[in-house]
Chain length 255, copies 2
């Protein structure tokens, strides 16, 4: 399993991905799920991948080959992130169908970044090859094991949050996911893209033994518990008593 999240705010984009790959609990490996392509000052595209590892590796190889071979469409010449998503979607579908149509070959991708002259953007590419972008109301996209880490994103992220806040929220979202799902794990990679910079010089990798990851895990656990204990205790008297539903088998005579 995998968890990847991209958050697009006014100030830029945060990309965050885990690195655990598993095919059964005794086949766990570490693979980076984050790739990037670009030319400083002109374009930067980051790609996160989830799903069948053979498919995602084949897709990334094809993208690299197209660049090396100066193919007509490649990520260094393509003129928009929409076109880039369509291009990645087509490669992904072709790779999935190569070995027969079966959902085990499925893969999803997030791509994001900026091409000079256009706004920065993130897109999610479904296994079927179609894609969506984020919005003001939902300024983030997730692939893989997305549910455990969604509530904190919904509460914290809006387009005006600062990049460091968005990055911290991505890491907390990742922490909740790792805690609940063993197949999501470090190293955690984080990429910070600043709007209109056309540079990717803020890349970080948090290893299994990262002090920061450990401290964050501990701090968030402590604060969540404190938040919970500070909730007002239940006042049962304020809640309506309920004694109507399915009550016919209370106190039946013995048979």
């Amino acid at each position: 399993m995998t968890y990847c999240v991209a958050i697009a705010v006014k100030a830029g984009i945060i990309f965050c991905s885990d690195s655990r790959t598993n095919a059964g609990v005794d086949q766990i490996s570490t693979y980076s799920k984050m790739s990037h392509f670009g030319r400083d000052g002109e374009r930067q595209i980051v790609m996160l991948s989830a799903g069948n590892l053979a498919t995602t590796q084949a897709v990334i190889n094809q993208i690299k080959n197209d660049i090396n071979e100066h193919a007509k469409y490649n990520l260094l010449t393509i003129s928009s992130l929409d076109q880039a998503s369509e291009y990645v979607g087509k490669i992904s579908v072709a790779q999935q169908e190569k070995y027969g149509k079966d959902s085990i070959y499925e893969a999803s991708f997030i791509i994001g970044g900026q091409i000079a002259g256009s706004p920065h953007q993130i897109m999610m590419i479904y296994p079927q090859g179609n894609f969506i972008t984020s919005s003001v109301d939902t300024p983030y996209l997730q692939i893989g094991e997305s549910k455990y880490g969604k509530p904190i994103l919904d509460r914290i992220i809006d387009p005006d949050v600062e990049l460091n806040t968005a990055a911290l929220c991505a890491l907390v979202s990742m922490d909740s996911t790792m805690r609940s799902n063993l197949t999501v794990g470090p190293p955690i990679e984080v990429m910070v893209y600043e709007t209109d910079s056309q540079l990717l010089n803020h890349r970080y990798r948090l290893e299994q033994n990262s002090n920061y990851l450990h401290d964050l895990n501990h701090a968030w656990d402590e604060r969540l518990k404190a938040a919970f204990s500070s909730l007002p205790p239940i006042q049962w008297a304020e809640i309506s008593y309920h004694d109507q539903v399915n009550d016919e088998f209370q106190n039946q005579p013995n048979n």
Copy 2:
């Protein structure tokens, strides 16, 4: 969709369920997912249900009929919660297979309570009819849309927490689920069973317009946001800079 959770601690059991049923977004209805069967002072069994509504209703009807008709096995005569789970599992499988084997007919159940002389217990019955119980390490069971509400249970619940704390945690878990999944919704039903009481006289129902539900939602949102803002800001300098992976396409010459 549905979300039901049962928490078994030393002091007793908390049962909590939503009441939203949907078959497509324009077919949303309200059905209680909580039933109970028992004789005060002798046994109390609470049942939570998730899955195909026709199946769960048929299972509950069969259980009621068996009681009315004094069937050899029924929930008011059966001697253990293990046997009760096996009995419910068999009925569930029979009902699912009645209309052809298809996963759309699947249903899951949680049953829990206490039969005098035996310890209180909770069990989860899979669509296949087999079942598990909770443990000291995992003192809760969930059915339906379980992921959004799992992290808070993992952090707060252990066998020594008080019943009111467990109830509050169940409601916070429900709140996170409702926020992230529109197909889980009020009325929220809560049943509190106190160990060795053999009574079910703490039943509560929180309606859509419940002030308590609204206040809890607001209080938890506020406290989670405060917990997040109190986290130490990211110190990027403490995190190792990462510049090795997939870097070959940075700053390629134009083609």
